[in-house]
Amino acid sequence: MTPSIEAVGLTKRFGSFTALDHLNLKVDGSKCVGFLGPNGAGKTTTLKMFTDLIFPSEGEAFINGVSVQKDRKRALSVCGDLIESPEIYPSLTPREAFQMSGALRGMRPEEVASRTTTVLEEVKMMEWADQKFGSFSKGMKQRVNIAAALLSDPEVVILDEPSTGLDPRGMAEVRSIVRGLKKGHRLIFMSSHILSEVVDVCDEVALLDRGKLLFADRLANVTQRLGGGVRAVEAEFASPLDETVLASQIGALPEVGGWSRTDANRITLQVKGGPVEQAHLLEKIASLQLGLVSFRESRSALEEVYLREISVGDA
């Protein structure tokens, strides 16, 4: 079965305030989708309705086609989630908490033991497996929470700002974990306000503002379409490139619509065309043997789109 989540007319009102306004969104397939939006946009509200922590005023949320509101047990059986930095009973150790969580999910004890080792090693918390959760720092707790969400090797993973409370190394590790998750047959739906994180790990993005969905599309299409039809990518090189080399060798390539230097080692390129042209451009720059280190969607491009869309909303 293809993993999927779907919001159908999902609406949440708190008194006269509408936190989420008739969200219609369907995401399916093995991919990572970034759920973007400023504070108060309705991201966490949406995710809480997908995990039945709060109830919709209207509409319904589905996971793998099963209504969360009508059959939460069945819907959440295929889902691992991390919403708002939860707490585990302080006297329990991560290993015990995972035994409880695994047993409640119907996992066999040996399967729980094996997965506990795998996921705790993944979040670098294995040496703390038998320490009480109550003694952990915020960052350590968040790592354990991420591991808990992955314990059952779920088809659908819902993450609400998973990097919250983590130091830069921890944030990088979370990104690496999410990238690793993408290798499986799995749908990851992740809210974040860290654009670089989204660019790094997500294939698609949905932007929410003031409870309304502004757009949802592939990351490259978003930056291209909303960036005036121009696709922007960022290329990083091992050493600083000479201006003339840049202009004559890279700037002259037919797929390049323009370029600007981000810093000594990095440049932002405007790509003429779509994904095919972008792929050609990557091949050509790599063949130039200029020490290309990375080539990815421009963070600044998404940031521009993000800020522009949000400011349109403000106006």
Partner: protein, 297 residues
């Protein structure tokens, strides 16, 4: 990905493929699993040490008082001794156990955010409620048993090793005490479900059971001259009846200071059992309904 306005909206009438439930345990099995881990958490917590401290302190005070005064009516036979030390004290132990273990059982899920961990699992809210109720019940019963051991220690000291043979009336009294415990925990869980802040829940339950109901009972009896049959704290006294005998339902005595009469009410077995069972049923359903509707905002 499809979404509005970028793409066509998701089709509201679309019937998506059914997901697989896998081998998620039954509701009852999940409640037992949850209660086991919650009970383990209780056993390791400071609140359990506090509760044991209260039980041991209460037992020590009782033991000292009995040892000092050696009241003849109390230490002559097992029924009187258990009636005096067990029946009354057990009610107090239960109230403290309810407050300490159950006061924040549900409210704490919201305030401490442990609910975010539990409710993300494929588990019904009813299951969470039942699991926590069972764990609280188990921790309270442990407290009761510790108290009973202290009382039995006194019984053995004054009456000899023969007191080890548990008298049938004590078993009956224990059973009634358990019904009271079930009802009180139902009440405590109801209030715990009403609040999202543990301190409020604990405070309200403590005030009601330590002072509130006693004051209400006095006011009803003294001013309204009515039997307070509907108060849980009033009907609890039937747990002494198997040991001490059933007193008169309404006892009127003449005041030693003039012609006025004083009326004392004692619940009947029927009243006590029905009211306790009623409290258990109604408060448990009420608490569950509140918890089912409470949001993790």
């Amino acid at each position: 990905m499809s979404a509005t306005p970028t793409f066509a909206p998701a089709d509201a009438s679309a019937t998506a493929p059914a997901g697989a439930i896998g081998t998620v345990p039954t509701t009852v099995a999940q409640a037992l699993i949850l209660s086991r881990y919650q009970f383990r958490d209780f056993l390791r917590s400071r609140r359990f040490i506090l509760m044991m401290g209260i039980v041991l302190a209460a037992g020590a005070i009782l033991t000292t008082v009995v040892a000092y005064f050696r009241p003849a009516g109390l230490i002559d036979n097992a029924d009187d001794l258990y009636g005096g030390l067990w029946a009354g004290g057990a009610g107090v132990v239960i109230v403290f156990a309810g407050i300490i273990f159950g006061g924040d059982a549900i409210a704490g899920e919201f305030q401490n955010k442990t609910g975010y961990f539990l409710m993300g699992l494929p588990i019904k809210r009813t299951t969470v409620y039942a699991g926590k109720y069972l764990a609280t019940l188990a921790a309270s019963i442990v407290s009761l048993i510790v108290y009973l051991i202290i009382v039995t220690g006194n019984a053995v000291y004054y009456l000899g090793a023969g007191a080890f043979s548990v008298p049938i009336p004590l078993i009956e009294s224990f059973a009634i005490t358990l019904l009271y415990l079930l009802a009180l925990l139902g009440f405590v869980f109801l209030f715990s479900s009403l609040f999202k802040t543990s301190a409020y829940a604990v405070l309200v339950v403590a005030i009601l059971f330590l002072f509130g109901f006693s004051i209400i009972q006095e006011v009803i009896v003294s001013l309204a001259h009515t039997e307070p049959w509907f108060l849980l704290s009033y009907v609890n006294s039937i747990n002494a009846y198997p040991l001490t005998g059933v007193p008169g339902h309404i006892v009127t005595t003449r005041s030693p200071f003039g012609r006025a009469t004083v009326t004392t009410y004692n619940p009947t077995y029927f009243e006590g059992l029905v009211v306790m069972a009623g409290y258990w049923l109604l408060t448990t359903i009420g608490g569950l309904l509140f918890f089912e509707r409470e949001e993790f905002t």
